[in-house]
Each structure stands twice: as C-alpha cells, then as structure tokens.
Amino acid sequence: MHDGSGRIIVNQISKRFGSVAAVNGLSFSVEPGVVTGFLGPNGSGKTTTLRMVLGLVRPTAGQALINGVPFGRLGEPAKVVGAVLEAQGFHPSRTARNHLRVCAAAIGVPDQAVDHALGSVGLAEAAARKVGGFSLGMKQRLALAAALLGNPQILVLDEPANGLDPEGIAWLRTFLRGFAAQGRSVLISSHLLAEVEQTVDHVIVISRGYTAYQGSLDQLRAGQRARVLVRCPDPARLAEALSKADVLEIDTLPDGRLAVTGAPLQKVAETALEAGVPIYELTEERADLEQVFLRLTSGQFAGGQPPFAQQGPPPGYGPPPGPGYGPPSGYGPPPGQYPPQHPPQPGPYGPPPGSGQYPPAQGGPPPNWGGR
C-alpha cells in the first residue's frame, strides 16, 4: 500500500501520441504543506502529465508515483487524491446531488458527505438542479466537491480558474491555501502565471514537454534583473554619460523615458547629477514574472514589453521618416528607428548591434513579434 506521505514524484515521464511527443522526460516532485503551481503554455503537456499522474493516461516511459505507488495501486484512490480536471464531464440530466451520490458510493463514503461537500463549495441550493443547466463556474465547483468527497490528502487541479468569476477565484485561492496549511498537498496547473501567482509557493514550469524551471516562486523572482526607468529633459545626454560610466544597456521607451539595465538606481542618479541632467522621475522596475515565465517557456522574448536591451545606432539614425514610425500596435520601440522625441544625435548610444543579450538585433521584429 501507499506510504501516506502526500508526496507526488514524477520521474522521467514521457508520453507519445503517435508521432507527437506530448511530454519528454519530465521530472518533478510535489511536497505536502505547499501549493505547487504547474505552469506552461497551452499544448505544453500539462494536462497529459496530470492525467499520467492520475493513472488516466499510460506513460510511454518513466513513472508517476503518489505516496510511493502508481495511482492504480492506491487501493482507494479518491481517499488519497482528489482531482478537478479539464473536460471532466457530467451527465447533463443528472442532478448535482445525484452526481455526488454516484461518486460517494464509489469512494465508499456515507451520503452525508455529499451534502457537506455541496455546502463547502457553495452549491447547496443548486443540489437538486440538473447539471446541464449549470454555468462553467458551477461545474467547476461541483467537480471540486466531487474531488473533496473522499477527504483526500492531495488535490490536483487542472486550470481550475477557467470559468470562475473573480469572486470564485479569490475563494479558491483562500481554500487552497487553507488546504495546504493543513499539511496537505496541492498541485494546480495554469497557463497564466499571474492567475496563480498569489496562490502558489512552488512552481514547475514546463515548455514543449520539458521542465524549464522548478523551485520556489521567490527564487524565480529574485533571479530576475531589475531595470531603472528615468524621465529627464535630456535623455541623450544622460545616456552618453551613462555609457561613459560603463553602463551600456540603455534603452529608450516609446514615452521618452530611458530604461537602464545592469546598474543600481543610485548609480544612475549619481551619474545624472554629475552630468547635470535633472531627473523628473526615477523608478526601479522588477521584471514582471509573466515575462520571466514567457522567456522560460518560449526561450525568447515574446512581446508585451519593450526589450530590456539595446538597439545599436542604426544606419538610418536620424529624424524618422513620416510613415511607419512609432510603436506599431503597442509593441515596444520600432526596430531600427528612434522615437521622435529625440533630436538626432550622433555618437554611440548603446552597445553595437548584436552584442546584446536579447534579440531583437536591428533590422526587424523578432520572429515571434507580437505573437505568443
């Protein structure tokens, strides 16, 4: 039988559907007492992985263990792990209470547990209604009620926020945190980091079937570089002063602010003072976790914010020609051109093209420009 640890261990698990490799040698573990987020873009293999953990899909290679044994050998699985999965169905003409009574009989819990579970997800008044008339959010709650019937040690939820209203999401967050605080385990998947950022302690990020990151959310945050945003009347002069002070990663935002990466706030302020450039606004900006997530999952920047890095002085540097300049559809500075706020000015304004950390280099949008 199982060891009762409340731990999920996934070891080198892979799944192929025909010629499609859905999951490729994924390994991670889920510990009791914390909420673990399982993140990746749509189609990255999250659902397949969760279904392998739950014994619904057979791995091509590797194994997934719950409490030290595969799901199929848990004996009474619903008393160990409860799951809310995407595309988990209901018979439309069965009532909510009857759906749970069917589950309760299979799990082997008394019928009183049904009304308790209905109450705990806020569906007591809809108990006698047919599930066919339920909203997506109500179905999610009903699925959660079914998952809780066996009073499990582990909860697995696949994209639970789908269909929940903001109030429902807040409720779910509180619920899951409380569940984990009792020393139980929660594994929750999402394609949006922001959606679960306030809920999870640990994250597992997967991309194209591989593990891209595993660890605590705080570590992920701490590993990110900050940039300093400066608003001043003469950004060109400040940029020149900064580059003389060996601060080379400077970027201009569409609104005319400078974005300085790789230097602390103090150094930027001191350099400006020495150069005699007044500062109207100086803020430090940490990278948005969502961007971190995007970079982890796509391997490169995928739009949404201007790149941190530079553009080299492009050949066509100067007052931009009329048509076609300005940030197209809100995605960062147009490549190869300066925003019109700046007077033409010769001189190095950043590192040479191609030396930066991130694409794009000059010449055009990155391959995934504007898309995710």
Partner: protein
C-alpha cells in the same frame, strides 16, 4: 461492492432506463395480442382441431425482436460515460478499472434481465386476456426464463462492445448494424452454401443462437399440440428452422452456451481495451 452501488445509482438517476422500457412494453403488448386477433378472424370451425394458445410462440418471437433493446441499453449504460466524459471521474473515484468493468457488466446484465421481464409480463398479460385458449403454464414460464437469460446476455454484450469501442456512437453503430443487418447478411451467405455443415454454422452466430434458445421450447410445445398426421414427423424442429432461419438448430441449452461464449468474447475485448485506454 462500492463500484456496483455506484453503477446502480448511475443507471437509475437518468431517464434512459425507463425511456427504453416504453417501446419495449408497447411493442410486446401489441405483438402478443396476435393470438386473440387470429382466434377472432379465423373461423374455428374450418380447422379440425382446437386452436392452441399462440402466446408462448408469439411471446418468444416478440422477445427475439426486442432483445436489441437490451443490447442498446447495455451499450448506452457503458459507452455513455465516454460521450459525457464522466469516465474520467468514474476512474478517479473507483478502486480500479477492473472494478468498474465488472460493475458495468453486472448492471448491464441486470438491466437486460429487467427488460426481458417487463417485455414478458406485458406480453403475457395481453396474450392471456386476448385469447380464450390458455397456454401451458410450464411452456410460458420456460419461454420467459430463457428470454430473460438471453436479454441479460445481450445486455452484457452491449456493455462489452461499449467499453471495448470507447465511443457511444461507434459502439451503438456496431451493435445495431450487426444485429439488424449484419447477421442477416452473414446468415444468407451461410445458408446459400452447398455444404450442410456450412449451413449449420448459421446457428453459431450470436443473434441466431439467442433466437433459437428462446423459440425452441415454445415451438416444440406448439407442434406437440397438433396431431402428427397433420403436422408430420419432426414438426417441432421444422418450426424452429422456419422461425429462425437456422439449419438443423442446436438445442436450447447448446444455443444458450453459444451465446454465452460470444458474451465472453465481448467481455474479453472490453477488459483488454478498457484496461489500456488512455482517458484524455
């Protein structure tokens, strides 16, 4: 046990089980009024013997027509879980796929037996009221008993196909096309062969085996009531052949065994495929 209790609740919390009982009851009532109609239309004085009760024969033929409902009920009960995607939850809450399979097959058998009983009860009631000549009680009870067993077996076959195919529409097509069309085509092909041995194979098809099992006893009982100088030798077997289209039909018991073997095949396929299927 938990799985069986769960399946019972699952079956009786939707409309399917009683919705299918409506046509079963109506058809059985209409079909078994035949003996009474026959008695009223035919001038009994023209026949040298009293017209025996037609109820066992008409009931057996009715059951053979209605057995498809048992198969359909079994198929829907099992494969409906794939259609509504409830199979995910079913596998998450039960103690294993084997338990789910066993419970589903047992429920399908019970549902089939229930349908057989209701069809027999409705048909017998009308038949007894409609015709003055009353059947031999033993004949009628044997017909009902064998009919209920055949219904139960077909319920299991339906559930087995449903679990093996894993798709409600696909499984229903398999069951309905085979029972309503496929087996007739195969039978005709077998009966047109020159060899008697090949002709006799028609009795080994599942649909025919069930039909023969149900019809044999009432047909023999009916033939016994007719004087042998009128009916001729071996009239019972000839009547079974005429009613089922099977050459040299095996006995009732052997036919039940043949259908049981087919049922076991369906169960084996269901166990094989449902144990390995990825639920995505």
């Amino acid at each position: 046990m938990n799985a069986i209790k769960s399946e019972v609740r699952k079956t009786f919390t939707t409309k399917m089980w009683w919705a299918l009982l409506i046509p079963i009851t109506l058809i059985s009532m209409l079909a078994n009024a035949f003996g009474g109609l026959f008695e009223n239309v035919v001038d009994v004085g023209d026949i040298p013997v009293a017209l025996p009760s037609l109820l066992p024969i008409s009931l057996s033929l009715t059951l053979n027509q209605l057995v498809v409902f048992a198969a359909v009920a079994g198929t829907i009960a099992a494969a409906g879980e794939f259609r509504h995607r409830t199979i995910t939850t079913t596998y998450l809450v039960n103690s294993g796929r084997g338990a789910v399979l066993t419970a589903k097959l047992l429920i399908a058998a019970a549902l089939g037996a229930l349908y057989g009983l209701v069809a027999s009860a409705a048909g017998s009631m009308v038949g007894l009221l409609a015709q003055e000549a009353k059947p031999d009680a033993a004949d009628l009870l044997v017909t009902i008993l064998v009919g209920v067993v055949v219904f139960a077996l077909w319920g299991v076959v339906g559930a087995g196909v449903g679990l093996a195919v894993g798709n409600q529409v696909g499984a229903l097509l398999v069951v309905l096309i085979y029972l309503l069309v496929g087996e007739q085509i195969i039978s005709v092909a077998l009966l047109n062969a020159d060899s008697v041995a090949v002709n006799e194979l028609s009795g080994y098809l599942p649909g025919n085996a069930g039909d023969v099992a149900v019809v044999t006893e009432p047909a023999r009982g009916f033939a016994e009531l007719i004087p042998s100088e009128v009916a001729g030798e071996n009239a019972g077997n000839q009547l079974v052949e005429a009613l089922t289209g099977v050459t040299n039909p095996p006995s009732s018991v052997v036919s039940l065994l043949i259908l049981s073997v087919w049922t076991a095949v369906a169960v084996g396929l269901a166990a094989f495929f449902s144990g390995r299927r990825d639920i995505t």
